[in-house]
Amino acid sequence: MDTLLNIIACSVRVATAIGFAALGGMLSERVRIINMGLEGMMLFGSFFGVVGSYFSGSAWIGLGLALVAGALVGLLHAVLTIEFKCEHILSSLGINMLASGLTLVLLEVIWKSKGSSSSVKGLGTIRLPIISQIPVIKEVIGTVSPLLILLIICVVFIYYILFRSVYGVRIRVIGDNPEVAGSLGINVYKIQYITLVCSGMLASLGGAYLSIGDINMFIKDMVSGRGYIALAMVVLGRWHPIGAVAVGLIYGMAEGMQYRLQSVTIAPQLVQCLPYLATLIVLLFARSGRGGPKAAGKHYYMKGQ
């Protein structure tokens, strides 16, 4: 029983990071821009979260800095793909390599270390008023990271925007057919820009969770593929905000079990394979395309271009 609760608690933690990134990936694909740069945006988020916390002494300022970094990188991806018609995957890979290189360079400049930063102030946890009284559930979500609460707020908010607001209608029309959106007088580029900046900020929140929300330090390449994994979750979650996060939770179970299994007799390297194997299996079940924005990755030219 304890083990099971442990796994669930762990999967909630894992799902928090992936959930933010999945929301970001979902949004950007809905405006037809493939964002594999999630990986790099997360990495920037975890790094600058720690940097901000280190220099200011406040994890919340760190979180703010992570958000700024995420927004800027989201903007970069937008400029490259929308303004300059860069192949979305190449722009993403460029961003990811940039993130990996730049964080390592700065890590060495700031902390004189090739592997990890020093420990910094983290966001800590919040004891939830009523839930922490309920016997079994309190073990799992009695005390949680403030970012988990933020994630839930984000899911609700994005759900509302997407399906209950004019802005969401515009996003969905662009997702269905940008040409039609353009002919309806929707400023496609503007919405794509805004959405990508949001996408970057969401991914950076996921990254920041990994560092200042969990272990309170930065470790070299600590995102280790979670950005790509989040994209797979978007497909399985059918481009729906609740779907993406729910799938993230299931996926979190796989990773949660990984941590449990590491303490058993199986070789740790084999156990480390699990999340990636799980993602491949997820992709097998999700199959591509069905129900998704069809032409994500294709360039759209606004009138007069």
Partner: protein
Amino acid sequence: MESSKRSNVFISIGSLLLALLFSALLILLLKYSPIEAYGAMFKGAFGSKNSWAATLGTATPLIFAGLAMAISNKAGVFNIGGEGQIVVGAMAAAVAGQYGGGLPKIIHIVICLLAAGIAGGLWAGIAALLKVKMKINEVIVTIMLNYLAVYFVNYLVMNPFKAEGMTARTNYISESAVIPSIIRNTRLNYGIFLAIAVALIFLFILKRTIMGYELRSVGLNPSAAENAGIAAAKYIYIAMFLSGAVAGIGGAVEVLGVHKYYISNMTVKYGYDGIAVSVMGGNSPIGILISAVVFGALKAGASNMNRMTHIPSEFISVLQALVIIFVATPAIVRRGKDRISKGKGKREG
């Protein structure tokens, strides 16, 4: 055709210069001197016989990785799995190299290379299978396969194939499997000729054979190729297998020619470097040879720069990332060129 080729070369060179310029700004921000840094880098890459050997020795795996990327790309498949295929190939070669000590050198080396090629090819084949049969995007699959390969091979190195001692590495390969060095105690070995040969064979297949023609037409427009009676799926399999095989052989050359055993993380990021190499080389075999030497020089120079100026050598990934971004967005370079020529016009007027 000729003019588009020329413009590609212009964009590649322009991108490299722009990336160097932006990186210089970064060096300035970090309060170092860019001139000193680039000077140290140049010296480390071309300053002596040994630094030339380091440059060309580093270029060798980059040629393989770049070609691997380009082969799949020609068929319209984006194989980012070079990293994993290199690791799998290197491990296969390290295992094959340990046995068969009595074999003649040529035969033993060929067996090791074949083992690596098949291992890398099959590993890439998984992504091709999923793409053709299940229509799953190859990009995420190959990235997942990278992580799987790294962790799985780490398992092999730390458990069944671990050599005695503290480090996680395999036993030395037998003498008969060693690819000899060209200059002693440097990375440069005869494997570089194999890399060049693979590039030339790829060029020949691409330009002079029906297979190459069909491969390119699948890459340009798969449905049109299908209509013309070309089995697109077949070429996706072939391209992915060959792509993985070339990457795997690249890993094997690192084992047989440089390290003489497999050690955990020995091929760090060559696969990702290969993306930058093929992008800057415009996916053409000759372009890849040139850009692999350029990146080989940058990487070899970076460790000297690190010694002389304390700028972290990871700095090179930043530079590579910038090159990818600039080459992939030719509009930036072109706009810059327009602005320059407009400026000239003004001055003249």
